[in-house]
């Protein structure tokens, strides 16, 4: 069988996740426009060169009373009129699904240069109304209807499951929160970069850090975020021209070396029931991570220089640590205590701040992770740069561990 054609990452642009676009009195289209124009500018790509566009978004119909988002791409520049575009939805994994679709089209030889935009404007409604909208990423009628903030509660149950199987201490979750917030201070586009946080605060049990779902408290949660990220993916042919035009070697342009994609049962209780007897609490997440490594030709996590993972809550990051194979199943706490997850540690996780620190505009998260992986392996991550990073892996999860996507980006 012939080798799969390569997919190159040319870079992109992230909006500042601390911005509140409703407060700026800006329409959803402004978010799209700024991210795409920013991406074109930072990658020095002319609009005429883009051949196709994919938009990842979860729930613009609910938050912004707006659908047909692929079409909004054509509003950014007159050159985009007539371009093939589409929109992809898989809850919080929407951005990764858009990336998968775009990369598959490059692998199929359909297009040489694709724009992928992940986008979500969430601050249009109150926190509780938004919480209900997010509940549609679960089986709404059975898991979310009538429940205030259903997702913290679902991920609280993930922590409970760990606790039941292996034991889980709040102080380890607090340490994850602390690291993410500290890393976010280094990231000029992170939502929480000015927020107050340290381990004492993450552990405090007052109204300033109120419980929102079982063991999940405010400091354990990613926040309601507005944001968009545009990245450009290219075929080898285009990447060769792109590199030559900039005096680079093709080997300096990062590639998507591997990917993984799995969908588990929708209800959290079904996922947990299926995993009884398995050493991993969410086996489909584990196989997604492993698939991406295998496709990249990387034996295990020791071949990965850093990870951008889906910490919608501290419990999902706790789960990711052993699912990436950093520790044995159930021993994620060992990596936390050993300091392996910090930027200068053995296995840095979320140097950007992750979802808890950098922010979680739902449909944009997967593309943000890929862009951060690109920045890391090209040495452009600024103050949150992992020294000498060559291979970075992402993990993006939709629902309560339902749709899982992972990419290995490397040079």
């Amino acid at each position: 069988m012939a080798a799969t054609p390569e997919v190159y990452v040319l870079g992109g642009y992230q909006t500042d996740f601390a911005r509140n676009w409703t407060k700026e009195q800006k329409h959803f289209s402004a978010l799209m426009r700024e991210s795409v124009l920013g991406g074109l500018q930072s990658c020095e790509i002319a609009p005429e060169e883009v051949q196709s566009a994919h938009v990842g978004n979860f729930a613009a119909e609910l938050y912004c009373m707006q659908g047909h988002l692929g079409a909004f791409f054509t509003e950014v520049d007159p050159a985009f009129s007539g371009l093939p575009t589409s929109r992809h939805e898989a809850a919080c994994a929407s951005g990764s699904i858009a990336l998968l679709a775009a990369s598959a089209e490059i692998e199929a030889g359909r297009y040489d240069l694709q724009a992928v935009v992940g986008i979500e404007q969430m601050k249009t409604v109150s926190a509780s109304e938004g919480g209900a909208f997010l509940g549609t990423a679960a089986w709404y009628a059975e898991e979310a209807d009538g429940i205030e903030f259903p997702f913290p509660k679902l991920f609280g149950r993930l922590g409970d499951e760990y606790d039941a199987r292996y034991g889980l201490k709040d102080e380890h979750l607090a340490e994850l929160s602390k690291i993410n917030y500290a890393n976010a201070k280094l990231n000029p586009n992170a939502q929480t970069r000015t927020w107050y946080m340290n381990k004492e605060h993450a552990l405090c049990r007052t109204d300033d850090n109120a419980a929102v779902g079982g063991r999940i408290r405010i400091a354990d949660c990613s926040q309601v975020t507005d944001g968009a990220v545009c990245v450009f993916l290219a075929s080898r042919e285009y990447a060769e021209r792109y590199a030559k035009g900039r005096g680079l070697k093709l080997s300096q342009i990062p590639r998507i070396k591997g990917w993984g994609h799995n969908t588990a049962r929708l209800r959290f209780s079904d996922k947990v029931a299926e995993s009884r007897g398995n050493e991993f609490v969410l086996p489909h997440v584990r196989s997604t991570v492993v698939s991406a490594m295998e496709r990249a030709g990387i034996a295990d996590v020791n071949g990965i220089d850093g990870i951008e993972t889906h910490d919608c809550f501290t419990t999902s990051e706790y789960m990711a640590i052993d699912h990436f194979g950093i520790t044995k199943p159930g021993e994620s706490w060992k990596a936390i205590e050993a300091g392996w997850l910090e930027i200068d540690g053995k296995h840095p996780i979320n140097p950007s701040g992750g979802l808890i620190g950098a922010g979680h505009p739902v449909g944009a998260t997967g593309t943000r992770q890929l862009l951060d992986a690109y920045l890391q392996v090209t040495g452009q991550a600024g103050a949150y740069q992992v020294e000498g990073a060559k291979n970075f892996q992402t993990l993006n999860i939709g629902g309560s561990g339902t749709t899982s996507c992972s990419f290995v980006v490397g040079v």
């Binding site: 700026e24 402004a30 700024e34 280094l186 000029p188 970069r193 103050a383």
Partner: protein, 449 residues
Amino acid sequence: MSVTSKIPSGVELRKLLSSRSIERVVILGANGTMGYGSGALFTQAVPHVTFLARSKAKADEGLAEAISQVRSPTVASRVETGDYDSDLDAAVSKADLIFEALTEDFAIKKQMFDRVEKVRRDDSIIATVTSGLSINELCEGRNDSFRRNFLGLHFFNPPNVIVGTELIAGSDTDPALVDFIDAFARLRLGREMIRTSDTPAFAGNRVGFKVLNEAAQLAEQISPLLVDKIVGPYTGRAMTPLATIDLVGWDIHRAIVDNVFEKTDDEAHATLELPAYMAKLMEQGVLGNKTGGGFFKKDGKTRLVLDPATGNYQAEADVKLPKMEYVDDIAHLYGQARYREGMQLFLGAEGDEAELARKVIAGYVSYAFHRVGEATETLDGIDRIMGTGFNWAPPGVLVDTMGARAAVNMIEKAGLPVPDALTEAVKNGREDGFFDAPHINTGKFFVAG
């Protein structure tokens, strides 16, 4: 002057950070806004912080404010409080960093430094949060180790929200210390660091208060309500100028512009003279929001607007404003992130109001560009402090958005001096590319309001 226009990499910053450690910080003036605000910030990163004030009760008040500002009772777990008479000597002698946030009065600060000099360790760092007093003058006459370890660390208010921070070295400050503090503030406190020279009001307040004061001068000709409308969000600022002066406090505004007016003699000197009506009203106790009103005040749910000539107020709804449809049209374009098109409308808008607005904006751009080489080495420094300290569209962003030729035309029409950099750019056909901080989203400055 040492200036870093490019941000060092994280790897370089972490190397610098490892060169020494800060475990104990003392805050002098911990009951003041900048004292407790900065003190709270330090508690995120430093295990022991001592809040000192004239009395322990005052320091406790500062701690309570700090807790309330950052909404975390855990601030208290890292803070001790005390007073100058009983606790200063012991606290300062143990401190790695002494952070001075006393009232903006040269004599008071000097007196405090007399005490600090006597008890501090030779290797401790002394930082002042002064917003405009000379760093060199503040440490004049001190011993070598004091002068080598002394610098300005100008946070903006409130420090937990506004990340823009000016770092000002004195002529004897150890350059290695400046690099260390830069790294510490970036990595541990999440600051956007801008190095400025030791000029009056440094870079941010020099440029920012010139524009604010010009708006206050305009309020003698037209209603404050109209001033804030014409130099409003559509010109690249979330908070309007006169509302900003009310928030800052008229007394602070006066201290800054009087200082700059007295110590400089630049091309825009006249715009830095405090309007006489403000001085008169201040004598009657009008200081802005802190005294219940300034240019604006609230009467229940009704917003009232000052008449500078009489000192009386009238309801906002009773102030007749001219039609300014162009402002709404620009806001509509900004709502779709069409900033260049909005700026073209601004440049072409007809009427006295548009003319006045362009004069203020032209003054801002011209004045900022002329401070390059004086307040900061490059435009990048001024741009970043205006963007991250004032949350205003930086001058470089405005030029990039309107185009260099259009900016030159606007400045010429306003009768103001055109900066050489813009003349040169037009000659070379360069229309944009002045703003050099790609990590800052520029669209956020153009609020569609």
